[in-house]
């Protein structure tokens, strides 16, 4: 049996009028709120995305006479990890930092945040040191310049030292592979 197609749906002219505005607004609102259900409201986007890593001058954790500055951390695509020995989540992400240094040529620099230098050194001796260099921000004043609010935090810098991404909370292999690595590859193809 062949049936002729008869349109039995809603009257299209009636739909596309200003009367449907409340429904449209509702749908848009519902979509926005649904998106919000999946995001953590406590996470703040960095205010420094696409801005240069702020200048700093801090002592080196392993030779405190030596002063590290911004130029020591930039020049290559790199990660800067804000951590402390008192921070449990930092310990949790430590193996991930090691894996990143083992599996990629991305250097990781550390900012030791409001910590005791002896405890920080001890932590790295016990659990291994994934960092090329660690700057000591004992008072946390440099961290304020970066907008640090929750350790651990990890910043991705491009070759010019511009902050391209910030992750708050412990780094996982998932985050590295799904968020950071694609960005790293994209930065590698960008012209300097």
């Amino acid at each position: 049996m062949k049936k002729k197609f008869e349109y039995k749906g809603p009257n299209m002219r009636k739909l596309i009028s200003w009367r449907s505005l409340p429904l449209v607004v509702l749908v848009i609102l519902a979509f926005i709120l649904w998106r919000g259900l999946n995001s953590d409201p406590k996470l703040l986007p960095s205010a420094l995305i696409d801005k240069p890593l702020p200048a700093f001058e801090l002592p080196d954790l392993f030779s405190t006479d030596k002063i590290l500055s911004r130029s020591d951390f930039i020049g290559k695509i790199a990660l800067v990890n804000v951590w402390a020995s008192w921070c449990d989540n930092c310990r949790r992400e430590h193996p991930v930092l090691h894996e990143i240094t083992n599996n990629s040529n991305i250097p990781i620099y550390g900012l030791n945040y409001k910590d005791q230098q002896s405890l920080a050194r001890q932590q790295l001796q016990t659990f291994g040191n994934p960092y090329i260099a660690v700057a000591v921000d004992e008072k946390g004043t440099t961290a304020i310049q970066w907008g640090v609010y929750g350790t651990p935090e990890t910043y991705l810098l491009d070759q010019q030292g511009i902050i391209r991404y910030r992750h708050v909370g412990p780094l996982t292999m998932d985050i590295w592979q799904q968020r950071l690595l694609p960005l790293v590859n994209q930065l590698k193809t960008e012209k300097t």
Binding site: A47, V148, G150
Partner: protein
């Protein structure tokens, strides 16, 4: 009766000692500066304990930011400057009252737009 009295004494001691403590920690020369300092603290969100302002919060960052704001007030910086300094580093969210800027104009304007839109719709329907 004795219980009530002792609780009251405890309460008064606790509150007066915290007020005294905060005064000593951040000594300022003039009353205007003291007021400015207290008012500023109430406008700045503790981004760690996000429903508190940095006057109340015990978080380490709140303490650091209090110290920074105190230093600025002592130096004579204006309220606008201090709030701009913080939002440049932490984003608009650190301010309890978002300022009227490119990123927040929609936030400010939307309620009025919706109000006008709603009124227009209602008027049109009732005229018909």
């Amino acid at each position: 009766m004795n219980l009530i009295v002792s609780l009251l004494v405890l309460f008064i001691t606790y509150t007066s000692s915290t007020i005294a403590e905060s005064k000593d920690q951040y000594p300022l020369a003039t009353i205007e500066q003291k007021q400015q300092f207290q008012q500023l603290l109430k406008q700045i969100r503790c981004v760690v304990c996000q429903n508190q302002d940095i006057a109340d919060s015990n978080a380490g960052l709140a303490k650091d930011l209090r110290q920074q704001v105190y230093t600025f007030v002592k130096e004579g910086k204006e309220e606008k400057e201090i709030l701009a300094y913080l939002s440049a580093r932490y984003g608009e969210f650190i301010l309890f009252e978002p300022r009227f800027a490119k990123s927040t104009w929609l936030l400010w304007v939307a309620p009025f737009v919706l109000l006008i839109l709603g009124t227009v719709i209602i008027v049109r329907r009732s005229v018909k």
